[in-house]
Every structure is written in C-alpha cells, then in structure tokens.
Amino acid sequence: MTTTFDVNMLRADFPILDRKIGNAKKLIYLDSTATAQKPTAVIEAMNEFYRRSNANIHRGVHTLAEESTAMYEKAREQVASLINADSPREVIFTRNTTESINLVAYTWGRENMASGDVVILTEMEHHSNLVPWQMLAEELDLVLEFVPVTDDYLFDMKAYRKLLLLEPKLVAFTQMSNVLGTITPAKEIISLAHEAGALTLIDGAQSVPHLPVDVQDLDADFLVFSAHKMLGPSGIGALYGKMDLLNAMPPFLGGGDMIKTVHLRSFVPNQVPYKFEAGTPAIAEAVGFGAAAEYLQNIGMEAVEAHEHDIAEYALERLEEIPGITVFGPSAENKGGVASFVMDGLHPHDIAQILDGEGIAVRAGHHCAQPLHEVCGVKATTRASFYIYNTKEEVDALIEGIYKVKEIFG
C-alpha cells in the first residue's frame, strides 16, 4: 500500500500545521489519536454557519431556522454515508464516543440486562468502554469478562470463543486500540457474538477516523465514534444503531425535541433519532462533523488507511533502531498509525517535554487505558500517532528528538 494523495498539498488544508512552537520550531503534530487537527473546510463550515445561518432547529419556520435544520440533517446524511448506514436515522448525534457508550448502557443496557448477565469486553479498552459497563454492572449485578490480548498484542480469538460459552448479552470491543494500534477482527467478532446470541458494540473512536468502516458489511449493532478524532470539531460524536434496536430502546435524556407531546405528568417520545437528542443539539458542530466526514470520503478511507500504514511502518522501523526502546503493539500489518513506547530509565513526561522543545507533539501517560498498561507492565507510555497529514520527514524528526532526550538524560 502506498499513499495515493499528495501529502504536501493536503497539509495546506490544515492551518495549524504552520504553527510555530516555542523558539520558532515548526509544529510536528503526532497526537492525532488524542484529537485530530481540522482542515479549513471544517473550520469554515462552522464559521459560515455562525455568520450566515445560525438558528435553532426543527421548530422554526423562518429562513435561518429552515437553513439550519437542513444543514443539521444534511450532516447526519454525510456521517451516515461515511459508515454506510442503511438510513441517516440510524445516526444519533451525541457529545462524543463516551456519551454514546453511556447512552447504550443507560438505555439498552438497563432495559435488557439483569443480575448475572455477562458482558464481554477486552483488556484493550479505553476507560470510556470500561467505566460505563462497570457502573451498570454495579447497578444491575452484571458479570464483566475480558478478552485478553495475546503475547503479540492481538485480540485473543481462542479466549473469546471460550468466553462466548457464557452466553453473554453484549460484546463491546474496540476496533482499534488507541495504545497498541491493534486492529481487531470486528466482522468475525460480531458474527461469533451473533451466533452466541449477543449484541455487539464497536468502539470506533479510532477505527472510523482511520479505516473504511461499513456497518452493514460488519453487521454492527452499535458503533460509536467522535468527530474530534476524525478532523471534525469537539463537542459532537455519534451513535450508530440498527433501527430496530433504537426503536425499542427507552429514551435517555428527557427534554425538548426528544418528545412528541408533553403533558404536566407524562410525555410521548419522538421518533428515532430525535428520541435520543434532547435539548438544543450541537448544531454548528454537526455541520463541522458533516464537513469532516465528507472531506474524508473525498480522500477515500482506503487511501487514508494506506497512507497511515506507510508512515506507521516506517516509524516502527526507525523506532526499533533506537537502543533501550520498547514499542508496544503488533507488527505493522495488524496495526493502525500508533506507536506507544517506553525507554529505559526515562519517564514518558520527560520524553514528551523534550520533544515538545523540538516542536514535536506526542502524548505521555496511560492514554485512558490503565488496565492495558497494567497488562503491558508499565505505568505510562509515550505515544506518537499519525494521520493523513503526517510525513516520513516528521518521523525522522521524532527519531532525532528521541536521541536528544537520551542525550539530555543520558
């Protein structure tokens, strides 16, 4: 796989890449797994919205309200199209991946699970796909089981098949680990879950921004993701759910827009997706989210994946040259554009701080995956992550920077 677009031309779409850090070093942004940078198309879509069309939606008949409503619903179509949902109605706008998971836990979960029921997660999960189930388990007395990672940092299919014998109600798993970069075999995981009578929730926070994800091909029941990690704005995310499931779920938050009729002591909920969008939604953010989905679709998710694979493969090669480094995760073919590593005797904060002095933004910490770090036997790692705008030259700068860290602390 090689890059099919011109990275340098594409970089011109991202104004922040001209940013100077500290003493006039150029920004090298290797932290897209935490949040992605935004192309002008996304920033300007929101800008335009506020300067031209801003109004509250769904209930106004004046020109601005009609425009805003149309833009908000068009965004739903753009996002639905990216993941190939059968209908835009299957896309619910939330704040982020985290809220999407909580929505499923609070509604589908509380309605469909009871004492002793089993939920299968994996050891690789982000806190956002652990804590909501821990809270629900505490409330309903559920049993949580965890698919381990194999010695080569893959989803342990054998262990999973065994856990399915427990007849779980739900399998909730990440499609790409934000630490290891591991890409899990989502289609197989889902089809096995369905055979065992379980529903599935894909944490697509890292997969939707970086890979082609087709909910119909995957036969996904729920898929959750965040706009901010896929070139879109903060403050908005999505929950995809199969229409039948969404229709059967009770509402989550109560309030304006999620109702059909209200009396003082009772209400009738609105239809899906509005049933789950209480109150004034993130309207401008939806417009930005739609623009981001379209931007990615114009590049093509295969091309996105290929480019990142290129960069990641090169980064792994170069990192592994460095004495005293350990990179966690599988080999490049099963891995997205993430490289988390530790270095003998060096604290991730110090590495990140010295790199920042070189203009290089990487993340240090447990990346909201403490249990996975426990599995890896470390408290924290330094993580470099890659997106469509990153180049091999930036990887070279990273490697140089790491040598500088060694020098300073040597």
Partner: protein, 133 residues
C-alpha cells in the same frame, strides 16, 4: 414568499373543498405534527376494486397543512389504493407548487402521512416520517 402564499393555498385554506368526516368509511386515520400541534384526520371510502370513491379531511393547522390536505384529498379521488400507497413527498410538493424547507415540509406532509398510514392499515405506533420520504 409570494410564491409560498400563492393564491391557491390561501384559497384552499380559507374555503377547502373536502373538509368533513365520512361516516361510514373504509379508512380512518389521524395524527399530529409535534412541532405545532396541528392535527389532521382523513376518512376514505373505497369500492370493490379498491378505488377511492370519496374522501375527506378534518383538523386544524396552518394554511400549508390544510391546503395540502385539501389538494391531496382531491387528487386521490378515483385513484387505486395501491396508487395512494405509492404517493411520495414530491407529489404533495407538486400539488402545492412551491418550494419548502424541512420544517414547513412537515406541515405539508402531515396529511400524506395520515393518509398512507390509513391506507396501509398501520397502528398508531407504527407511523413514521419514513412513510413520506
């Protein structure tokens, strides 16, 4: 705007041709627009060949919803039930002859939604905007 309130709509709103309630009837359905509380009911009589012989609407609402209902009821007279089931949003928009944004479109389509729900024999809980897309 002048388009939107073209003469036909104001006229049909002020003096509808098909306002009423048929009793007996073969089809009855009613629903609300949650945005404004507008209400439409339709009653339809069909013959042995499932052809609409008579139809009427009742309810209250804005000029768009009431005029659309009146024009729609007029339009289905003499149509087969299968043709009624196949009606779409575009048919109503053509009848009204004006462009509408997504919010006003809901007003315009309320009568079609009610009519199709009745034609399909749906339950109250089964009505969705998908009927009129």
């Amino acid at each position: 705007m002048d388009d939107l309130y073209r003469q036909l709509i104001i006229e049909r709103y002020k003096t509808p041709h098909y306002r009423g309630h048929l009793d007996p009837h073969d089809i009855f359905f009613e629903d609300d627009n949650p945005v404004c509380g507008d209400h439409i009911e339709v009653t339809v009589r069909t013959n042995d060949e499932d052809i609409v012989t008579e139809a009427a609407f009742d309810g209250h609402g804005c000029s768009i919803s009431q005029a659309a209902a009146d024009l729609l009821i007029e339009y289905i007279h003499g149509k087969k039930l299968d043709e009624v089931k196949a009606l779409t949003k575009d048919d109503v928009v053509d009848l009204l002859g004006i462009d509408l944004g997504p919010v006003r479109l809901k007003c315009a389509l309320l009568s079609l939604k009610v009519l199709k729900a009745g034609a399909y024999g749906l339950g109250v809980d089964e009505v969705s905007d998908e009927l009129v897309e």
